[in-house]
Structures are given as C-alpha cells and as structure tokens.
C-alpha cells in the first residue's frame, strides 16, 4: 500500500512570508492532487498534476510535480490569513485495486496576521 508522507506536519508563519510544504512517496504517482480543508468543511480540490516536472500556478500558490513523479511541493508566496487550513495531498490511483483517493496526513498551516 502506498504511503504519502507530508511535511512539515505543522507550520505557523507570519502574514507576508513565503512557505513550501511537501508530499513524498516511495512509489511513483500516476498523478497527484492537492486539497485544502478548512475547519468544519470537507477537502476542496486545488489542483491535479499529472506529468513529471509539471508546474501549475493558482494565484499565489505554485504546485510542482517531481521529475520522477515521486514527490510534489506546494509553495505559497506572500501568505495571507485566508491561506490558513489543512493542506492534503492525494493520489487518485493508489493501486491495490481500491477506487478511492489515498491521502497523506496533511500539513496544518496557520498564517498569523
């Protein structure tokens, strides 16, 4: 069974700073998704990356897929309090025959004003 390791587990920074969080696996991802979850809500899809080396941007968020498709990063520029939340990576095709997403434990991000 594939395991997705996310780091750091917790991150608290000041508004305006930059940050990067990571998602790693011992296995090759077929594709990878990043979600954000806020308290009392379910995860919301931010992006799907498919090709090794792919970079996608969503406003101040930059998502990168490793060349070998075994890791991914999410970089936030000039973080704002609205970026606070739990960031999850997930593999839609984790193998083993299961249809569902395989999630990492997530990075809890707090942006302090």
């Amino acid at each position: 069974t594939q395991l997705l390791e996310q780091s750091p587990q917790f991150l608290s920074i000041q508004e305006g700073e930059n940050l990067t969080v990571y998602c790693n696996s011992s296995s090759v991802f077929s594709s990878l998704q990043w979600y954000r979850q806020e308290p009392g809500e379910g995860p919301v899809l931010l992006v799907t990356v498919v090709t090794g080396g792919e970079v996608k941007k969503l406003k101040r968020l930059t998502f990168q897929f490793g060349d070998a498709r075994k890791d991914s990063s999410l970089h936030i520029t000039a973080a704002q309090p609205g970026d606070t939340g739990l960031y999850l990576c997930a593999d839609p095709y984790s193998g083993g025959g299961a249809d569902g997403l395989t999630f990492g434990k997530g990075t809890h991000l707090i942006i302090q004003p």
């Binding site: 594709s31 995860p43 899809l45 025959g97 569902g100 997403l101 990492g104």
Partner: protein, 112 residues
Amino acid sequence: EAGVTQFPSHSVIEKGQTVTLRCDPISGHDNLYWYRRVMGKEIKFLLHFVKESKQDESGMPNNRFLAERTGGTYSTLKVQPAELEDSGVYFCASGQGPREQYFGPGTRLTVT
C-alpha cells in the same frame, strides 16, 4: 448548484448503539465515495458506489458497517453496533470520476 450534503453534522452515541449517516451527492453524479478520518490518522477510503452498485468496498473495516445507495441517489452508512474505535469524521464525496471528487462537510461521530 448545491454541493454534497451530509446529515447529521455531529452524532454522539454509546457503544453498542446504532447510527446511520446520510449523504446526498451532487445531482447527476453517478460516483459516490465514503471516507473516514480517525484522530491522528489520514483520511481513508471506505467504499465506492457507481449509481446504486457497490463498485469497491475494500476499505470497509468490518461487517458492522453497511452502506446502501437507494435508487442511485442518496447513500446511507450504518454502523451497528458501534464501537469506540469507530469514532471519527466520516466524509462523503461525489463526482464523475476518481480525479473529480467533491467532498461534503463530514459527519463527526463520537462513540462513548
């Protein structure tokens, strides 16, 4: 367009009791998924419906859990009898395929 809804938002029951969770997917979505997050762990897949048929229930923990999807619309997840380790947040998601899943807000289940 309404999103995925789940009921109840919270449920507190005693060990040995029965609880039924409900999920209403986005209209038109044939795929419906159930997930669970227990404290300190990652969100884990439980099962997948395509319309009214169970496509994959490999993640169901044991036979105390029963999921149904009547008429291919809403779905229920029954836990009977509940055990302490069943506590957690149960999420439902719907979509047109595995890469497109829209999650509901979850039901927080506490078994005491």
